[in-house]
Symmetry: C2
């Protein structure tokens, strides 16, 4: 056995299971939709250790097909056996594109989200599974996902990574600063910030309806934004985060309704509360409890001093790299204080 490989597997799954926000929100969502799962057939796309499949079995599913391409599925088989669910949970080792399931399914469940929602995400596999295996009117959990972007300030981070070099135990090391900036801020950075770092309400960069989205729509995503800073503070960069909702198929929205809702969300600061009234939400926002997804930060090489109520307008484009399918190219263009800026980076 290759221990290093096994280690990376175990480490990743341990981290995900120990992400209590993630795992318990999925469990809550499954229990919330128990009437649509009990007595039904479920497909778990990328089952990992099988935790979501077993939650579905606990919720009364007749059969659960648990599919994973990685070796962790061998462990999932053992775990299913240990929980005496081998008659209900059928673990399949293979890519969702390759496995043969004996029946159509009523429910698809998947934890497919990557950093900033789309990085190394398995949404493409969920779309494939939906089109091939889901009965019409079936349930998809999660059902909707939103990717957010907001301007942020983070003097502590800038201090630790940049200003630190100005005086190190009485020694001037400012000559390190250009390189330090390149190293710290060239690529997107996955880290945890707090609600206090966020300068104003986020905009919605992408909204995914898992019932209707097509793979092509994910190749390039573009959104415009217009922020008004609520604070006088240095602008240090922009943060991405996401949330997913667990809505039943009855709440499925038409494209037009989805767009209206998008407009409404951009306009009102209280979108999160409104959503929480009607559905279960797994949020990775800075103001919510931290998750292993943290937030994804794009830091500027030079901070911009913002006045209160100063506007920042622009656009962001996220596209799959042509060279490396895994990589995401992120192009951010923004205008503030009478000047245009461009920040291009690659999430790799």
């Amino acid at each position: 056995m290759a221990y290093f490989k096994a280690y990376s597997h175990i480490g990743v799954h341990e981290e995900m299971l120990k992400d209590h926000v993630r795992t318990s929100t999925y469990r809550n969502a499954i229990m919330h939709h128990q009437d649509l799962i009990s007595g039904k057939v479920v497909l778990d796309v990328g089952c990992g250790t099988g935790v979501l499949s077993i939650f579905c079995a606990f919720a009364g599913a007749t059969r659960v097909y648990a599919v994973d391409a990685s070796d962790i599925s061998l462990q999932a088989m053992e775990i299913v056996r240990e929980n005496e669910l081998s008659d209900k949970v059928i673990v399949m080792h293979g890519r969702i594109e390759d496995v043969e399931i004996e029946e159509k399914v009523d429910v698809i469940i998947s934890e497919w989200m990557g950093y900033m929602l789309l990085y190394e995400s398995m949404l493409g596999s969920v779309i494939f599974a939906r089109d091939k295996w889901l009965k019409p009117g079936g349930l998809i959990l999660p059902s909707h996902a939103s990717l957010y972007l907001a301007p942020i300030t983070n003097s502590q981070r800038y201090q630790d990574s940049v200003y630190f070099w100005q005086d190190v135990y009485g020694i001037k090391m400012s000559s390190m600063i250009p390189l330090a900036k390149q190293c710290a801020f060239m690529e997107p950075s996955v880290e945890t910030i707090s609600g206090e770092n966020v300068l104003t309400w986020p905009t919605v960069v992408a909204q995914v309806d898992c019932y209707t989205i097509q793979a092509l729509e994910l190749e390039t995503i573009t959104a415009t934004f217009k922020y008004t800073s609520m604070l006088q503070a240095p602008l240090h960069g922009f943060a991405f985060w996401f949330d997913v909702e667990f809505n039943g198929p009855v709440r499925q929205k038409s494209k037009k309704q989805a767009n209206q809702s998008l407009d409404a969300q951009n306009a009102t600061p209280s979108n999160k509360k409104k959503k929480a009234d009607v559905s279960i939400v797994l949020s990775t926002a800075p103001e919510d409890a931290p998750t292993h997804w943290q937030q994804t930060l794009l830091y500027l090489f030079e901070p911009i001093e913002l006045k209160k109520d100063q506007n920042i307008e622009g656009s962001v484009t996220i596209s799959q790299s042509q060279q490396h399918a895994r990589f995401l190219n992120i192009c951010l263009k923004y205008f503030t204080g009478d000047q245009w800026y461009v920040k291009e980076s690659v999430m790799k």
Copy 2:
């Protein structure tokens, strides 16, 4: 420029500089020996950003040769220039074995210590520099190093890595435990424990006198131990840590004296206090402030329930791997409760 490479450089040097215990103890040691540095010629082996070289210049050194084989030496040149010390600090980009210095030196300073003292350590380069460039009677900082080993208990770590799998959100995952143990405990683990984890006084596994040690002595190190547990507690493993002392050449000990002192240290719990009276010590012990070296842990696959005053006897051998010069083979043999155990691992 290869940013990834630069990043790893900057990240490593940033971490070392921000290790306040490390950097400020070196500074204190330099100031403590100012009479032996002022007006003298210094060689800094593995200078990194040049921080120790500049401290020596601040202490009055006439000339400092700052040598580093990595690209960070190019940054060190800039930093020296920025501090207007280019006439005193001569940065040389190359291996210590290859560089040509124009004179013999009075002082060698180096921060050569790796994890568990010897892992990826640069002690071999210091020995080379001493034999080739140090004047007789010259100063070496640090002058002495000791590697310690002690039995430890760490129920929290065992809980997090092993028992965690017994019940994950109501799901039995005990079948993960064998693999989890392999992954968590197969290799030595660099982590921070506290004094409360240590079951009794440590033994000295190796004692290095930088004035006299030969490279051959580092290839294989063997030591025996006999511990008496001060607590009734599960034995979860053994921890390595080290300290280094900054003694002047006048305090140089003969081999016989060093051995006597080694015996005395094994016998008395107060060795640390005694040393602190007479010299500056940089300690990475669990009971002292954490450093970036942390401690190096060897965890057992199965804990052993120890009674108070129960003995643990055995031996430890640390040897350079034949296959990979960087790797350390660690073989631990121990006898307790009428049974022999062997734990072999590779630090890689």
